[in-house]
Assembly symmetry: C2
Homo-oligomer: 231 residues x 2
């Protein structure tokens, strides 16, 4: 009998934002797998470090981190093959996923290679927009508002059309797209109420205005929250 | 010195989807507060029941549950006053929130009455769209897609305009709005790929097609997931 493939949401960064279910599986699963840069452990592995019992097999999906490029297919092919070999041998494998596995997550790339061949269980995790709203103590959305979540990589016209239509918005993965996103927010009169959170829930979490972000720069893991109605 | 107001996300229903942080605060806070129907404990209180140490003060925000009506202002006024009295006496109060406190959550109604007067800390929780995606083992969104989350209470034209623009969508709180939502999905050629999840992560969780949902009906706590790209 083959093992079960777990997509394990490990949350936005604070290890205390792991769920009880994620911790239980981490402590008992014989194999963990996770993406990591060419050197070092990677974020997902660092988030769970304190909960690992030791002695587990670790499959590291090594890949260059370049948000301007499509996902590295070869790295996912190799990783999926290694995971499949463990599952074929009857061992459960937990793929560690920053945030939530199915919300803009790299778990989709593992799933599309292995779905249908093995039992799959997904454990949801705290996603970054919720961690940012918590940092700001500010509602993302309420009542009958439309909340859109859009990556900053979209072109300026797409961003403007979407933010014009929805009452509440989160633009993710700001990084080098900040100037473009700022232009959109100003065009739509959303700039004054916008707040930026970098590294939500991490020790280095930072809350910024657009001016501060422009002056200091923002990392890839930052997002801007806007809402058309009064707070 | 006044107490701290905690907005405590308790997740979608499965008590194992509480975070470690939520459990720690639940075990140590002297006062909990939660919305509940006119009789009974309410969902948020039931989710955390196993983690309560006993002996805590409980503030119950009693209100008739009627999704067709605006939030009962008087009930929130009374609840906020009771919470404020505890905070004034220096006791921390944790307001239990189904899902995430700041994502379409009733915590906004408490916050708007007490923000600025007391220290506020928010602990994010697993929101229902992520729990539904986990139940379906299906990505909500990936790469540069726009994901919109919209309550089914919106009018048919609003729903259609929003779902036409965004590659991925979640329509929440289906209940008696199912026929309207179905018409929108059919108009946009999204009906075939749509999946409905009721009571995500609860013991009574149910996954349905649109046909099954129409035949059997759906509860208020159900939502439909659609995505324009191939899965």
């Amino acid at each position: 009998m083959s093992g079960t493939l777990y997509g394990l949401g490990v949350g936005p960064g604070d290890p205390e934002l792991l769920t009880l279910k994620a911790v239980r599986i981490l402590r008992t699963v014989p194999v963990i797998a996770y993406p990591a840069p060419l050197e070092g452990d990677g974020l997902a592995r660092r988030i769970v470090a304190a909960h690992l019992p030791g002695g587990q097999t670790e499959i590291v999906l090594r890949m260059a981190f370049d948000p301007t490029q499509p996902p590295p297919e070869a790295a996912y092919d190799r990783g999926a093959a290694e995971i499949a070999a463990q599952l074929d041998d009857g061992r459960d494998v937990a793929v560690l996923c920053e945030g939530d596995p199915l919300f803009f997550g790299s778990f989709a790339y593992v799933l599309e290679r292995l779905a249908g061949r093995y039992p799959v269980r997904v454990v949801p995790g705290i996603a970054s927009p919720m961690a940012c709203a918590a940092a700001l103590a500010r509602p993302l959305s309420a009542r009958d508002e439309r909340l859109v979540i859009v990556p900053a990589t979209r072109c300026e016209d797409d961003l403007a059309a979407t933010l014009a239509q929805c009452e509440a918005a989160v633009v993710m993965k700001l990084g080098r797209h900040l100037a473009k996103v700022r232009r959109v927010l100003e065009r739509l009169d959303l700039a004054a109420g916008a707040q930026i959170v970098a590294w939500a829930s991490h020790a280095e979490q930072k809350i910024m205005t657009l001016d501060e972000a422009e002056r200091d720069g923002v990392p890839y893991f930052s997002l801007v929250v806007t809402r058309r109605t009064s707070r």
